[in-house]
């Protein structure tokens, strides 16, 4: 009937169309993204079209369709970090990884996002790698840090 891993989840839902967002939230949390397979299975369960589900999911920024990388890099471009040349760090990472904000490297090792504020402006410019904040970053420090992950 449903593919492995979906049936057990669907058992907790009634199958009414308003289950959609909570189902998507569940799968977003579980796998870190909404896969094509997930959309197909949810469509079968709720009897609505895959396109409709995609339309809903793409509206909300809490859902992503991209499988996240193994390591997560975030560069802050909020006001304080902007003033402290956070953009240089962003440029450095884009060059180094060859990807834009919101993308994942081809080998799936890093994903990269430029964010508005990480909430530690006193330490600007900051970079977050796998949840760890690195304060007063420079391009040299950033290169060194990233090389630890290679």
């Amino acid at each position: 009937m449903y593919k492995d891993g979906y049936k057990s989840v669907f058992e907790n839902y009634s199958g009414a169309q308003d289950n959609l967002i909570s189902l998507l939230q569940h799968f977003q949390k579980q796998s870190g993204y909404i896969s094509q397979e997930c959309v197909q299975e949810v469509a079968r369960f709720l009897k609505i079209s895959e396109n409709h589900i995609y339309g809903v999911a793409s509206f909300y920024s809490q859902f992503t369709f991209q499988k996240p990388g193994k390591n997560h890099i975030k560069v802050c471009l909020g006001t304080a970090c902007h003033v402290q040349d956070g953009q240089l760090l962003a440029n450095e990472i884009r060059d180094l990884l060859g990807i834009q904000s919101g993308q994942v490297t081809a080998d799936g090792f890093f994903d990269y996002q430029e964010v508005a504020c990480l909430g530690c402006c006193a330490q600007a410019p900051v970079v977050e790698i796998n949840g760890q904040i690195y304060a007063r970053m420079t391009t040299t420090k950033l290169m060194k840090k990233l090389s630890e992950y290679e």
């Binding site: 094509q36 959309v39 469509a43 079968r44 009897k47 609505i48 079209s49 895959e50 396109n51 409709h52 589900i53 995609y54 339309g55 793409s58 509206f59 369709f65």
Partner: protein, 728 residues
């Protein structure tokens, strides 16, 4: 009784409206124009373009007329300087995302005449060569509202134009996000192919994961193209044909439903086909233009001379046909006709065989295709329910009915019924368009549908459950609970080698559950071919050819005694109308069709005939309604309607009774044999007799899928390129 009338004033005119109507609806009904881009009368209000803003006395702001309900005593103004300013501003904002050189070009006025800038600009940047030029609703709005001086700079989206799907192109650089296409797909057709993706300034209309429409489950009904106010969605075939000169209402003959359509004509060519109201399927919407306006259509009679087909005049062709036919013995003549022809053609064809050639050997194609199922088909047709029984059904059972492409018109009906609360059950061996929506999907092994249905009918007949499969038991239980069951027999179910078993089971099931049955056949005029008597075993009116009394009666009308049923010898002349010659055979072949022979096929004579868009006539749909065909354009070259060709031959052979001046003359004669036959009538099919002799030998069902999409004996894919992409 509550008072449901509301009185209001629009632009100083006192107006009555019903409670619950919007201001826009009330204004439209009274002929007051309020500009709008996103609203369509057939769709729920959306309120996204904001152009229909109005002033209402006592209201501080300017609400949109399409989303504001009328109230007693409202005083509405639709055209004030303030509104004009605001609308102009709104339009400028809309146009900041819509390339508009078609409006702003300084050379526009000379464009038609001198074409100085013809396609200097790309299509997507919207120069005068935008495919919607002259038919674009934005152009009309700009004319009404005016743009003012300062235009905003254009934010060009720069998304690639989507060409990969068949039938229509999509250029979302021109989209103004009015949402008509999304709404028509979702709320009228229930297909849900289109959706808004992303949000804010990045919003676009699209599909899941940027799939093509084919992958995204689109049925290509074209409704989105019809409602698009801009050049975003454009039909590929019609892209540069411009504004049609005339529209002719006619009937689609590409399947048995007989949908009404509007044929769009320009000069002597059909350039498009649109639904009259409601829907068309992919064949009716996108298949017709290429089929009937193809440059390879036959345009002059041809005769084989020294092994080669050479064009000849009609007089020569008729003389040659007469020569072949008069030397042919009655037992050596056979005629095969397509069930896509109009009833007038079919009637004259069988009369030609029976009177001129003194034989009953006239066979419409369905008999070859359905073989032993023919009697079952006739029995089901006799009880056929009108299509609108679906609206009142509380349970619907579909048998091998895939409504994605060819029957997508029915899909909307079925899904609307389901939304209303009716249960939908489907029996189909494969994954199909209804499997997502069905409440129960019984999936028999391929080729076992008849068996499954027979067990179902058995189960329903006996109270005891027996030892049937669980799925079958559940379905039987559900069907027992239904009060108003409708059974739809898909066209594919009719090709099974055991279609007779299947149809018997359907009959039994319908009898047990008191269900209505609908059989949407693939031929445009299956019922017409039966009523016209275009079969050896059937006479006009549908009585059995073995019935001597009927034969006498018809003979009196025709002034000629009818031949008795005689077995066919090896034919020496084969007359084919809308039918392909088989590869082998010694017979001399007269090939009368709209399109050329396929490679390797042979005929002694080729006679060009008119397609359904080029004749006046009638077809009978599966409900028994007599639907009009109207001539939209003349046939190409020297081609003639099929009945005229037959009449000319008969007259040249000095046989009386073939001097019809028009299709109406034939209808008048038919009405004497088929009770009540006239355009617009809803016939009872009770006179049809299941008198078909079982075929010898049993027929080969391997060509079933191909047969499904034929017109005049050809697969439609031969000329309609886009259809090739739709793997059935």
């Amino acid at each position: 009784m509550p008072n449901t009338t509301r009185h209001l004033t629009i632009d100083g005119r006192p107006i009555e409206a019903e409670n619950g109507m919007t201001i826009l609806q009330a204004a439209r009904r009274n002929g007051i124009y309020i500009p709008t881009l996103c609203d369509l009368p057939t769709l729920p209000p959306h309120g996204s373009c904001r152009l229909c803003i109005v002033e209402i006395e006592g209201w501080p702001k300017t609400p949109t007329a399409c989303t504001t309900a009328v109230q007693e005593g409202m005083v509405v103004r639709t055209d004030t300087p303030r509104l004009r300013d605001m609308r102009s501003e709104l339009l400028r904002l809309l146009l900041s995302e819509h390339p508009l050189s078609c409006l702003a070009c300084t050379e526009k006025d000379h464009c038609d005449e001198c074409m100085v800038t013809l396609r200097k600009a790309g299509v997507t940047t919207g120069c005068g060569s935008c495919p919607k030029d002259g038919q674009c609703e934005i152009q009309k709005l700009v004319e009404y509202i005016g743009l003012g001086e300062d235009l905003y700079p254009i934010r060009y989206r720069n998304v690639p134009v989507e060409h990969e799907d068949p039938f229509y192109d999509r250029d979302y650089n021109l989209c103004v996000l009015c949402g008509r296409c999304v709404r028509v797909c979702e709320s009228l057709h229930f297909t849900g192919t289109l959706t808004y993706t992303n949000r804010g300034s990045r919003t676009l209309v699209g599909t899941a994961f940027g799939q093509s429409h084919l992958e995204a489950g689109c049925s290509f009904c074209g409704a989105c193209v019809d409602v698009c106010p801009t050049g975003t969605l454009t039909e590929k075939v019609r892209k540069w044909d411009g504004v049609p000169e005339r529209e002719i209402e006619s009937t689609c003959v590409l399947c048995g439903l007989g949908c009404s359509l509007r044929l769009l004509a320009k000069k002597n060519k059909v350039i498009g086909s649109l639904p009259v109201e409601g829907h068309l399927c992919v064949k009716g919407r996108f298949g017709i233009t290429e089929l009937v306006s193809h440059p390879y259509r036959l345009a002059s009679p041809q005769k084989t001379t020294d092994g080669r087909l050479m064009a000849v005049s009609w007089d020569e062709a008729i003389a040659a046909a007469v020569e072949r036919l008069s030397s042919c013995p009655p037992g050596g003549f056979a005629m095969r006709v397509s069930a896509d022809l109009c009833t007038e053609d079919l009637y004259v064809a069988q009369k030609f065989a029976r009177v001129v050639m003194s034989t009953n050997q006239v066979t419409a194609v369905p008999q070859d295709a359905y073989g032993q199922g023919m009697n079952g088909i006739v029995r089901l047709l006799k009880k056929a329910a009108p299509l609108d029984v679906i609206e009142g059904a509380d349970a619907i059972l579909c048998l091998e009915l895939d409504t994605r492409f060819a029957q997508s018109v029915l899909e909307a009906d079925l899904l609307r019924a389901r939304q209303r609360g009716a249960k939908l059950y489907t029996i189909h061996p494969d994954h199909h368009s209804l499997s997502l929506h069905a409440d129960r999907w019984l999936q028999p092994a391929p080729g076992r549908t008849a068996e499954a249905l027979a067990s179902l009918a058995r189960l329903m007949g006996s109270e005891a459950g027996g030892d049937a499969e669980e799925e079958l038991l559940l379905l039987a239980g559900d069907l027992r609970e239904a009060h108003n069951l409708v059974v739809l027999v898909g066209p594919e179910a009719l090709y099974h080698p055991d279609s007779d078993t299947l149809l018997e089971a359907v009959e039994k099931l319908a009898q047990l559950t008191d269900a209505s049955t609908i059989m949407p056949a693939a031929e445009g005029n299956l019922v017409g071919s039966l009523l016209a008597g275009a079969y050896p075993d059937l006479l006009p009116g549908g009585s059995a050819a073995s019935d001597a009394g009927q034969r006498r009666q018809i003979g009196q009308l025709w002034g000629r005694s009818l031949p008795e049923l005689a077995p066919l010898d090896e034919p020496s002349v084969l007359y084919l109308i809308g039918v392909q010659p088989s590869a082998s055979g010694e017979a001399s072949v007269i090939y009368q069709n709209i399109d050329q022979l396929l490679d390797g096929q042979h005929a002694d004579m080729v006679l060009p005939t008119a397609a359904f868009s080029e004749v006046n006539g009638t077809v009978v749909n599966i409900e028994g309604r007599v639907l009009p065909l109207r001539r939209a354009v003349p046939p190409p070259g020297e081609a003639l309607p099929s009945w005229q060709i037959l009449c000319r031959i008969a007259q040249a052979m000095d046989v009386p009774g073939f001097d019809y001046a028009s299709a109406e003359d034939i209808q008048a004669e038919m009405a004497e044999l088929i009770a009540g036959y006239r355009p617009g009538a809803h016939l009872s099919m009770d006179t049809l007799t299941p008198a078909f002799q079982p075929p010898e030998p049993a027929r080969d069902a391997s060509k079933a899928a191909e047969y499904h999409h034929m017109y005049m004996g050809f697969p439609m894919t031969r000329r309609v390129e886009g259809l090739r992409a739709l793997k059935r």
